[in-house]
């Protein structure tokens, strides 16, 4: 049962990492990148490393999302394609 659970969590890490790459809106991409840290933290607990899991939960999923959102609020919310079009002009 634990093997199946670990496999499913690893598939979840893969899916959320792909979503963080492919999503158009940046807020959804940032939060989806935080989900990678969440699933990795649960995987560390299953692999019996609770201290690593605690650090991953604090830094990888908690602080990184807040810092990314703070940086995003300093820039413009704009899809990637429009910026490339403006660069062509």
């Amino acid at each position: 049962m634990m093997t199946l659970l670990t496999l499913m969590l690893c598939i979840g890490i893969l899916i959320s990492a792909l979503l963080a790459t492919y999503l158009e809106r940046r807020v959804a991409a940032v939060v989806s990148a935080g989900l990678v840290g969440l699933f990795a933290s649960v995987t560390y607990v299953i692999l019996s490393a609770p201290d690593v899991a605690m650090t991953e939960a604090a830094i990888g999923s908690g602080i990184t999302t807040v810092i990314f959102l703070y940086a995003l609020s300093k820039t413009r919310e704009q899809p990637v394609r429009q910026i490339e079009d403006e660069a062509d002009d």
Partner: protein, 86 residues
């Protein structure tokens, strides 16, 4: 009997993770995805507590505690960003 109930709880949590990931992939708007991620956070906290009970190592409860505090902060920051900027 107790093993059966614990296995059933793990299966229910796996179904919940699958449904949350489905809504995360499918969700048309940003708010759907953020709610799905909040759901996945709650399900993961329950999963960590369940693993702590199954393996009888109660130091794992601390991980769930830290995660519960920090995920609340994270979702709060996202909600404030969506409303009027951080």
């Amino acid at each position: 009997m107790a093993d059966f109930i614990l296995n059933l709880a793990v299966i229910i949590i796996m179904i919940a993770i699958a449904l949350g990931v489905y809504r995360l992939v499918k969700g048309p708007t940003v708010v759907d995805r953020i709610i799905a991620i909040d759901l996945l956070t709650l399900v993961s906290i329950a999963l960590i507590a369940l693993i702590a009970h199954i393996t009888s190592r109660f130091i794992y409860i601390d991980v769930a505690l830290v995660y519960g505090l920090l995920s609340f902060l994270s979702v709060l920051a996202v909600a404030r960003y969506l409303e009027r900027g951080l």
